[in-house]
Symmetry: C2
Subunit: 592 residues, 2 copies
């Protein structure tokens, strides 16, 4: 059975050596000193390894079962959920007045990576609750906050998000679910939603569905969509639960993975709902959830790559097969461990260098979220808004590929469910799809975010890179291995952006045909930047005579690998982008 050890050392390095969190002028960050974050991370790591990880294969094997309208989650999930909720883990960054701990999002992100790595399907129950609570916090009335938030922070009630319908996912303007206004100010919601994660289950007393629906008479398309709170059980004035509302689970989907999470068809039959935010501005309110969920999905890509890598590494050290061509490393044994073989190294280094770069990128992104939300910093908000599709699309694509590499290390055993490696790939696969399929992320990035505010945000990104390069230009230790490759990669990204600017207005397809490559090109530059920042921090620690020399030297070697072997992918993406729309759009739809 696979195991999981939380990467607390690496997280501490990023938080303190690289991002220097406790020195940042972001409200709440001063408290984030090394001891404090260490205590939180160690504790979260323990729960991940000891409670959540052992339940991961159980969830995969048993799945969720719908019987007589009730969904039974896998053995052990309820008890673990209670334990996680009691520990206050689900409300880490929610306000204290609702029972939260008001900690920065960055810490919640680090914890969420651990929980997700240990058990993605399980963690989704909390993750969606958190996202729904955030939307209510941002858009709810005082009364709505009062009614729902404390219960959700405590995970006594969980949350869901209901967007997709059978005939529309990405194109929500086609939505049919109706919300009929009632005399008491509430609405009657009628329609069917599909792919609702955690839609029905037996782990909480109530489920708070956030549902997109159309108020009759409103504008056509996406501009006529509103968001509603639809509780599974009606909530009485005193906060106690009343009658069952008119919402039910019609079916649990048979999926490729995340079997421990109940993915439901939800039927709304005149269910009572309450408007959240303004009429017809449902998408705006939903985007509070969506943005959080997108960053969360990116994190899942990283998380599955991490646990898959950990187990592949263990296997590569244990499994004896073949001999080192340069001379036996285990001469007394029947063969050398797999890890002596260069191609196994190549695979492990691909994984390791992606994971550590992605983690830094993720946590830098979380810092920007905090800077934006807690510090009301519009520039930070612009930057993270630009990078959200990159975090989502790039980290889930690459994260998935890494789980496939990790599975491959096991040879035939990787294909046998008993060994657990297949689950990591099957679970990781969903993150490329949900919260906006990655193609939609690329469209969001190139079609919307790139040109937003006259390209201000992407220019701010280039400024970040340029400033870093400038600040370190005299640093000979960094130059060849880190600064030069970063500069080259960033130049590719700029060339791609320029190509879009020059061609995109006249031929929108010239930009859109390259959108997916641009998302990956951007992702590589972000990881290149993070590796350069990490290398600087590692050099600084080594120069300061750190007692933990091995850690920092390993960090530098891993970074050099990324810059040498992964980052040059930017040139390929640029070549593809610069080939323009013609090769992609040459065929008529009928000609395929």
């Amino acid at each position: 059975m696979p195991s999981y050890t939380a990467p607390t050392r690496d997280m501490q390095f990023i938080l303190h050596d690289v991002l220097d969190v406790s020195e940042q002028d972001i409200p709440g960050y001063a408290e984030l000193d090394r001891d404090f974050t260490s205590a939180v991370l160690e504790e979260a790591g323990k729960i991940s390894s000891e409670v959540l990880s052992p339940l991961n294969p159980v969830g995969d094997t048993e799945g969720c079962v719908l019987e007589n309208g009730v969904v039974r989650t896998p053995t052990g999930f309820k008890a673990a959920f209670d334990q996680v909720c009691e520990g206050g883990w689900t409300a880490l960054d929610l306000p204290e007045e609702y029972g939260g701990q008001d900690m920065p999002y960055i810490l919640g992100t680090a914890v969420a990576e651990m929980f997700s790595a240990a058990n993605q399907a399980f963690t989704m129950y909390q993750g969606l609750t958190h996202a729904a609570a955030s939307a209510i916090l941002a858009h709810g009335t005082d009364q709505q906050k009062e009614t729902y938030l404390s219960k959700m922070a405590a995970c006594e009630w969980t949350g869901t998000m209901n967007l997709t319908e059978p005939h529309c996912g990405t194109d929500l303007g086609m939505m049919r679910t109706r919300a009929e206004p009632q005399d008491d100010g509430s609405f009657k919601i009628t329609g069917q939603k599909i792919f609702i994660s955690s839609g029905e289950h037996d782990m909480a007393d109530n489920i708070i569905h956030l549902v997109l629906a159309r108020i009759p008479g409103g504008p056509e398309g996406i501009k006529g969509v509103s968001l509603f709170i639809v509780p599974k059980f009606m909530v009485k004035e005193d906060g106690s639960l009343g009658d069952r509302n008119g919402v039910s689970c019609g079916k649990i989907e048979e999926k490729m993975g995340i079997h421990g999470n109940s993915t439901c068809v939800m039927n709304y039959d005149g269910a009572t709902g309450y408007l959240l935010g303004q009429e017809h501005k449902g998408m705006r309110a939903m985007f509070t959830m969506m943005n959080e969920a997108r960053i969360g999905a990116g994190m899942q890509g990283l998380a599955q790559a991490e646990i898959a890598y950990q187990n592949a590494l263990t296997y590569a050290r244990d499994r004896l097969q073949g001999r080192d061509v340069t001379g036996a490393k285990n001469p007394d044994g029947p063969a050398d461990p797999l890890i002596v073989h260069p191609d196994i190294r190549r695979s492990l280094m691909d994984q390791k260098s992606f994971i550590e770069g992605a983690r830094a990128f993720m946590l830098w992104g979380a810092e920007l979220v905090d800077r934006s939300h807690r510090g009301n910093d519009a520039a930070a908000e612009g930057l993270i808004s630009l990078m959200t599709p990159v975090i989502k699309g790039f980290l889930t694509d690459e994260g998935y590929d890494m789980t496939v590499l990790a599975q491959q290390v096991y040879g035939g055993h990787g294909y046998i469910e008993e060994w657990g490696m297949s689950q990591f790939t099957r679970d990781a696969r969903i993150a490329m799809i949900y919260e906006g399929a990655n193609g939609v992320q690329a469209l969001d990035l190139v079609g919307r975010k790139l040109a937003q505010d006259s390209g201000k945000h992407v220019m701010a990104f280039f400024e970040v890179v340029k400033t870093f390069l400038k600040e370190n230009e005299g640093d000979e230790a960094l130059k060849k291995d880190f600064l030069d490759p970063l500069k080259a990669a960033s130049k590719d990204l700029q060339a791609a952006a320029t190509f879009f600017m020059q061609n995109g207005m006249k031929t929108p397809n010239a930009a859109l045909a390259g959108s997916y490559d641009f998302m990956h090109l951007f992702g590589h530059v972000c990881l290149g930047l993070m590796w350069a920042r990490m290398a600087r921090a590692a050099h600084a620690a080594l120069e300061a005579g750190t007692p933990d020399e091995a850690f920092y030297k390993t960090k530098l070697a891993t970074g050099r690998f990324y810059m040498k072997r992964r980052l040059p992918a930017t040139a390929l993406h640029l070549a593809r982008i610069e080939s323009g729309a013609e090769p992609v759009m040459a065929l008529d739809a009928e000609a395929f």
Copy 2:
């Protein structure tokens, strides 16, 4: 439910327009005129679509069940197997004296692509039978051929290959299964084999296991391994079946995919076996099977990509979502079909251009097999031996990636088992692992094949490319879009080979660290070559005033896409290769 339409038109194009098969001086090829191959392919296509494809999800859902030592295959498999056997499909290229049809391997390959695409798990029962029959044909005594081949050609008896043991897969020198010589010349086989595809089932009267085992007293390691024929039921002098032999299925593995094929743990408890080929030369005999199985695995990668693509294309045309940014294409409908979106096109073109290039590569490879076996052409044998790991590794890696792209087109529905797209990825995944994991293919390519006979075979490959370029150098229609990119890609491959030659002797790891990239670089050049050959054929047809203009124009556009957007990957692979061993091997095993 997914559907399948055999790509007979494309196969005919490759066989006749590109490879010009009936004009080749290979025994048996003269018969392969257009009408004949068309008749065979149409008939095989019909069985694939109507019989095998509908059973594919059945096999996935039901799997195989072991009860009281008997394996029950999925509903309908036995009847379909009988139908396929009666049609003589499994013995297409076996000699007539054993009931085969003695057709060239190239035709069998085209048929196998169809069967595999329609139902990979099912087709493995025949595929392994064919591979085992080939080994007996090549290495068996007259009596062994007499005893087994007719029955196997008719699929009354099926075959298996038994290599892997729990503690060794790639490193077969560690094998423990013993073969004790008996007075009558037979052997008693004792040991455990794992991952035995089609190891036990209810579709045939007998199963002929080919088993690698060690004769006590023989040389250590791989040089002391011999190959044995171990029938499930003993075969009497008159060919009728006698007692059950001492071999049994201990367990069916729970796998990620190919659930319709029984992957068995096989226990040999003093089972009677007969030496096949020479003592201690088991690997040589097994490699007759292995080489065939490796090419077959590459074909499976292509085949799964094809069926996944076909269904993704249908979905992209049917599913209405969003609008074409350049103006509505379906103005009367609620939205435009997915296929209008450039990023969906990018995905479909990636798939289509890979598949058609891979199919041509595959069939060219099959031609070389025929030229080698039927024509006794040593140069052809050298070339196909060099390219076998490329066919296996590149086509299965890329084929898998294409199934993932195809699944992605479905959005959320791609993750739901009911839609069938998940099965294609799960089934395709195994082909990267079995018959030698792809890392082992890369090792075989760079560590063995490249330098074999002083690099003669790779030089022969470059000669093929150079000759093609030379023959067509005046062709302006081909130059920019096809010849120039092929030349550039081939130069990258040569540079990589040169790098290995200059560094590999001194630092073997410098070659091995780049082996995986080399395999992919080689694969791209092969597909680039095939696209250039296909483009030439398409131009010729258009100049000759073909009535099927649309087909050839589509072919050219698809080829241009490959050359522009896929082939430039060679530069990235070269950059990775030229970074050498240092980045890959920098860390001690303990430092990870």
